[in-house]
Amino acid sequence: MKKIVLIFVLLCLPFLAGGCGSDDRAELTVYNWGDYMDPEVIAQFEEEYNCRVNYETFTSNEDMYVKVKNSSDTYDVLVPSDYMIERLIQEEMLRPITKDNIPNLANIDASAQNLAFDPGNQYSVPYFYGVLGIVYNTAQVTDPVDSWNLLWNDKYASKILMYDSIRDSMGVSLKRLGFSMNETSEANINAARDALIAQKPLVMAYVTDNVKSLMASGDAAMAVVYSGDAAIIMSETDSLDFAVPKEGSNAFYDNFVIPKNAKNPELAEQFINFMLTPEIAAKNIEYVGYSSPNAPALALLDASWSENAGFNISKEDLARSEIFKDLPNDVMEIYNRAWTEINVSK
């Protein structure tokens, strides 16, 4: 017993002695997706603007929403996706962006601006975008990868990875049946649910986290993933490719926003502007792997990126894809119940 106590006292001593000294630099609190920004870039910003960045991360839009909505904390910059931005705008939780303070907005391609969730980009500045598709092992998958039907092909039983998120998995099933990703009709939602229940015996797992290693090791033959994750896997492993099915898919846009109660909105705008600088944006692209609307940054990238199907999304694929809408509560309840039933089914 004494041994253990001694061990932990010895282990902790250096940390108690050291510790972070406080400083009086300006503070900026950023709440972003996990591993969605190169830490070097943040350090660079701190140095150039003589400030301190509190950097926190979340795993889903919903996690972020619950935390921002319910906690007494204030954040200066958030990076939610399209439908969540729509909800935040509706709930009047965001602060309009002063575009004059973000001259680098000129670097952003027009295709990523003025989208339905934030007309005129009053509240949000584009960061990354991507599209849901299928990453597959070219050695194992012999059929053409052009339809969501492939995920229902029992040739690949126990080799299929689905995406563990209500809207995404339901969206795949809805699209396959010819419905919208933002379907609101109960009958259609239930049809998509039944299709997923029928598919479940073929599915290896519903995951968001372990896709990379399972695809790299060949344990899984195909996986429903977002393009940027596919780009990273493909840059590390040969014999993988990425395709967006012809029925269409989900496209997302993750944008910077500033909450209404931000303590340091000026610095937040400087931060956003900094992230849009071509050199900085290029660094982030190489770290994150998602597609960027920052045209000058794309020119700085290594040639291998433009050949990466997960990074270089075609205009047609994007055009066929829908952006999620923030669905009303009663519709979400139908989705939730359907999802629980899928989860419970055998």
Binding site: E62, V66, D164, I166, A205, G218, T340, N343, V344
Partner: protein, 281 residues
């Protein structure tokens, strides 16, 4: 001990009221509300959250969670009890060493250890390779019920071992010797002396494994690949993704009530007040 007065425990009583009792009451209160709007001051009292739970889909979940937790508890016990006996038979400083070795893995982050299991269990992982060498074909253990139960056993095993070890250690060796002298055989000694004397440790170990196992959501998520949802996942989903705190609270209350019932039964078995954690070391 009259020199010490009971009021030295009062500050902690206050602490418990604020940080344990009040929050718990809030959850109970939440579980009886439907779609409250606190800003507008609108809340209606309802039983619908509980009614909603009485749905075969959710009851099945509850059943599955209990089944898995019971299996995990049993396996832990079947490993920990003989192991505890082995450790007790070691010389004193070796005993300490062994116990320390059993605790240290818990200081490496629990999520990380679970991720590492995912690597070990996957089709290309070591364990599957091993099975393949033995002649089995293509066994991927990852994302199966076995993986979920293995995760529970792995993560909560020390909670079973420690109380059992403590209670076995307390048994006076002279008692066992006396029993042998009086002609008891190994089996009788085990059944009539060892088991009854270590019963508090066994019960407390079982509770310490059962409770986190029945409410886990991380293990079933990571090792079950979202295919083996448990009641903990349902609660987490209500609070985190669906933002339905009232239903989430109601499920939590149901789960807690059942846990208290189980505890009551355990108390009947041992015949005394249970100190769940007290037997830990």
């Amino acid at each position: 001990m009259k020199s010490f007065k009971e009021y030295i425990a009062y500050p902690y009583g206050l602490w418990m009221l604020i940080f344990i009792a009040v929050p718990l009451l809030v959850v109970i209160w939440f579980s009886f509300l439907s779609n409250p709007d606190f800003k507008a001051g609108i809340y209606t009292f309802t039983l619908e959250n509980y009614q909603q739970f009485m749905d075969p889909v959710y009851l099945e979940l509850l059943y599955r969670s209990f089944l898995y937790a019971v299996i995990a508890t049993l396996i832990c016990f079947l490993i920990a009890y003989p192991l505890g006996n082995l450790i007790v038979s070691l010389p004193g400083h070796r005993q300490n060493m062994m116990i320390v070795l059993m605790i240290i893995p818990m200081w490496v982050n629990f999520l990380l250890r679970t991720y590492a299991w995912m690597v070990l269990l996957s089709g290309s992982g070591l364990i599957s390779q091993f099975f393949r060498l033995l002649g089995f074909r293509d066994v991927s253990l990852l994302y199966t019920q076995s993986a979920v139960i293995l995760g529970m056993v792995y993560n909560f095993f020390p909670y079973m071992l420690l109380p059992i070890y403590t209670s076995l250690k307390k048994i006076d060796p002279d008692l066992l010797r006396a029993a042998t002298d009086l002609g008891a055989n190994h089996f009788q000694m085990f059944l009539k002396i060892k088991i009854p004397l270590s019963l508090p440790g066994i019960v407390s170990g079982c509770m310490m494994v059962f409770m986190p196992a029945v409410s886990t959501f991380v293990i079933s998520n990571l090792l079950g690949g979202g295919k083996y949802m448990l009641i903990g996942n349902l609660i987490e989903q209500q609070f985190l993704t669906l933002n339905n705190w009232n239903f989430g609270s109601a499920i939590s209350m149901v789960l807690m009530t059942i846990i208290f019932l189980v505890l009551g039964i355990a108390r009947l078995i041992t015949g005394k007040e249970l100190d769940t954690g007290g037997q830990l070391l």
